[in-house]
Amino acid sequence: MKHIYDDEADVRTKAAIRVMSLFFVGLIIIAATTSPIATGTKAGERAPALEGKFYNGSGGWQTFNLESYWDSNWQEGDVSGQWVFLEFMDTDCPYCVRSAEDMSLNAADFDGSNPQWNGAIVNFMASATELDINGHDSSRAEIVAFRDKTADSGQSCAGSDCGSRPGSAHTFPYIDDLDQDNMKEWKVGGTPSYYLIQPDGIIAWSSSENPGEDSRDAILSLVTRESADTGGA
């Protein structure tokens, strides 16, 4: 009688091949139907969570969740989608104090209140932390004084009265990150750090990846505009 089977065959091999096939079919289905986007702080990655309490000039400190800004249906070129410009800062960081003026100007130009800006609205926000450096002793009262540019509040920002910082009072929200939770989640190496985020929550630009590039230039080059040939704000 003709031998049509292998005497040395083992059911374990047959079982392993079948089960492995099942496993790879599962992976192939996932690979074919999804395009996962890694969460991170580099361009092209999904912005990590940013939660806490925020102060926006009135109503005290309220619950903040960055995720509420995202529109998963936003598509490239859609000018109605609102972008986010996020600054990680410390009210006692001298460079953050100096850059407060740029933040004032940029927020005024791109937050939708400037009729000369024909691009998408950019929502500005700042996450205020307290770095582990001698002399950096922040508080919510100091964050409020810095944001509102309150004169003679008794709060000191980088050695000077918070009310004497450059620029006008800010109109955008400040998030309390004194415990550095958000800063660690975003792996922020130093302050100030800036992130420009698309309406769908994907990071479009970060200052750490583009050293030397001005944040205003990044907004002008990346944020969706009604027509490409229109000049800047």
Binding site: R18, G26, A49, Q198, I202
Partner: protein, 215 residues
């Protein structure tokens, strides 16, 4: 440069997302519960009426092995689904988001908890790989139940599923912290519990000498 998901992918996402996620969950939950019922001593109740159609149900070993295989397949499938959900959530889609305590998107999509703390592998991927190993152990045993290696395979299966309890404990602690429950993850946890019962009962049956009893 802007980053976006293509239109075709958006259509694919919508087709799946339009289906009720809790109805989809039943596809995995029902086989898992049937499998659990079969591996328990109570499985004899339904198995006795199906003995003529499914002869393997006539023996305790056959019933438990059938339940174990069903549980492992369901556990593997629901793990693959959770891996798929985590990929979809990362794209910005919603699959089972809810304002109630049952919101698997919030659990699977939470980047602080949705991967293992050592290698960063998604929990769904780990679950799929483990259930494949369990399926291999159970399937090999069912194909050649009197081989010398069966004893070791049953002990290994029992140990692996017992180790799964530690992982389940960790994941449930995450859910408590988030104050959310992931239904899909819970189904995979039930499958692990059922698989542990199955492997443990088979191991004991093998040791007792009643392994080859007719009924």
């Amino acid at each position: 440069m802007q980053f976006s998901v293509s239109s075709l992918e958006r259509v694919q996402i919508r087709v799946v997302l339009d289906m009720d996620s809790n109805i989809q969950l039943l596809i995995y939950l029902i086989p898992t519960l049937i499998g659990m019922f079969l591996v328990l001593p109570t499985g004899r109740v339904i198995a006795s009426s199906l003995e003529e159609t499914l002869p393997s149900f006539a023996t305790e070993r056959g019933r438990v092995l059938s339940g174990l295989l069903l549980t492992c397949v369901a556990g593997f499938a629901v793990s693959i689904q959770t891996l798929w959900i985590s990929s979809k959530v990362s794209e910005g889609g919603n699959f089972c988001a809810s304002s109630t305590v049952f919101s698997c998107d919030d659990v699977i999509g939470n980047t602080a908890y949705n991967t293992d703390p050592i290698f960063g592998i998604p929990w769904g991927g780990i679950g799929a790989a483990v259930f494949c190993v369990l399926l291999y152990l159970a399937y090999s045993t069912s194909l050649e139940p009197n081989s010398t290696w069966v004893d070791n395979y049953l002990k290994l299966g029992t140990a692996l599923t017992f180790g799964g309890f530690l992982v389940i404990g960790l994941l449930v602690s995450y859910e408590i912290q988030m104050e959310k429950i992931c239904q899909y993850c819970t189904t995979a946890h039930i499958a692990n519990v059922a698989a542990f019962i199955g492997f443990y009962r088979l191991m004991k049956l093998n040791e007792s000498g009643e392994w080859n009893q007719e009924s």
